[in-house]
Symmetry: C3
Subunit: 137 residues, 3 copies
């Protein structure tokens, strides 16, 4: 079995991306390679224009969830983007934008934050995934 963890990120809210960043950083810390494939709203959150913006939380968070998350940010918790940057320094993390989602959202390669390593189609994603696990977030 291939140790690689393959993450398909679809959602672009700050809570889901924080969960994804923790899963990525944990794998990197254990020496597991991580491939991240960005679709739709997750892709939009990885653009230069959006990466430092507030992307909201899942609707279910409610007011109390919002307060919890804001309190941590004020206390200096690393943002999801920062956690992904640290994971890339720590281990083997490759982040690719889904070419179809680039078309849907009319995003060009130069619009992407430098965290993103490149653009690929779903077939390339599967080939890189090898026998590794695939997790959709």
């Amino acid at each position: 079995m291939d140790e690689t963890i393959n993450l398909v990120l679809f959602s672009g809210t700050d809570d889901k991306l924080q969960a994804a960043a923790v899963i990525t950083a944990g794998a990197a810390a254990l020496g597991k390679p991580v491939n991240v494939f960005l679709q739709y709203w997750a892709l939009r959150s990885f653009t230069k224009a959006e990466i430092n913006a507030d992307h909201g939380l899942a609707a279910e968070a409610g007011e109390s969830g919002r307060k919890n998350v804001d309190a941590l940010a004020k206390a200096g918790q690393a943002s999801w983007a920062e956690t992904f940057r640290q994971a890339k320094e720590l281990g083997e993390v490759d982040i690719q934008a889904c070419s179809l989602s680039m078309d849907v959202l009319q995003i060009e390669e130069e619009d992407l934050d430098p965290l993103v390593n490149g653009v690929e189609g779903v077939t390339a994603f599967y080939l890189n995934a090898g026998d590794g696990r695939i997790i959709f977030i």
Copy 2:
């Protein structure tokens, strides 16, 4: 390791189903068998009454996301249902409705779009999944 990709579809919004359709079509193009198991709102979207309706987008899409998706539809992009149909022609794709979700939503077998091959329980889903990957969307 079994090459089969097993997708559990829960969400029925058009963006999530389009992402699922692309993942299915990519697997089919590479010769990987795909088992799809439909729960809750994804199941509802695969009924005859709903399959061609507008199922909305994830709340986080916002107005700008809505515009992007509508623009593509006008430009003739295949709907998720059409992409699933093509994937079935291209490869080995089996779509099953979750029997428990059928009960919850009071859906009968004759209400399902012909894209759906049958109805099964979660135990049958696991047995068909074999050693293949399981992805929840």
Copy 3:
């Protein structure tokens, strides 16, 4: 390949948790060990204060979905918490709270429902997951 099913639960709405409970119970019935890792809003739903509350449904459920789910509850369908309890009696199901999410939501170990076996970090989660499948819900 390891038979263990590893579920990362993020969402805390009643429909997603019911889907997760069914996937857990099905695996337990087939003798597959199940590790559940609770993050964010799923973790909040597993606290003593929240486990019997109404956690709403995914926004896309709409009014008709709400009616379907309510009708079943009135007809005596087991809640997701009850289904998890039954799965624990039936098989090998271990439920762990994500330590980082505990910090985010300011939840203490004594706040957790007895369904939760303990608290662990993401590294421990990966180590327990072994070669088993990982499903994010």
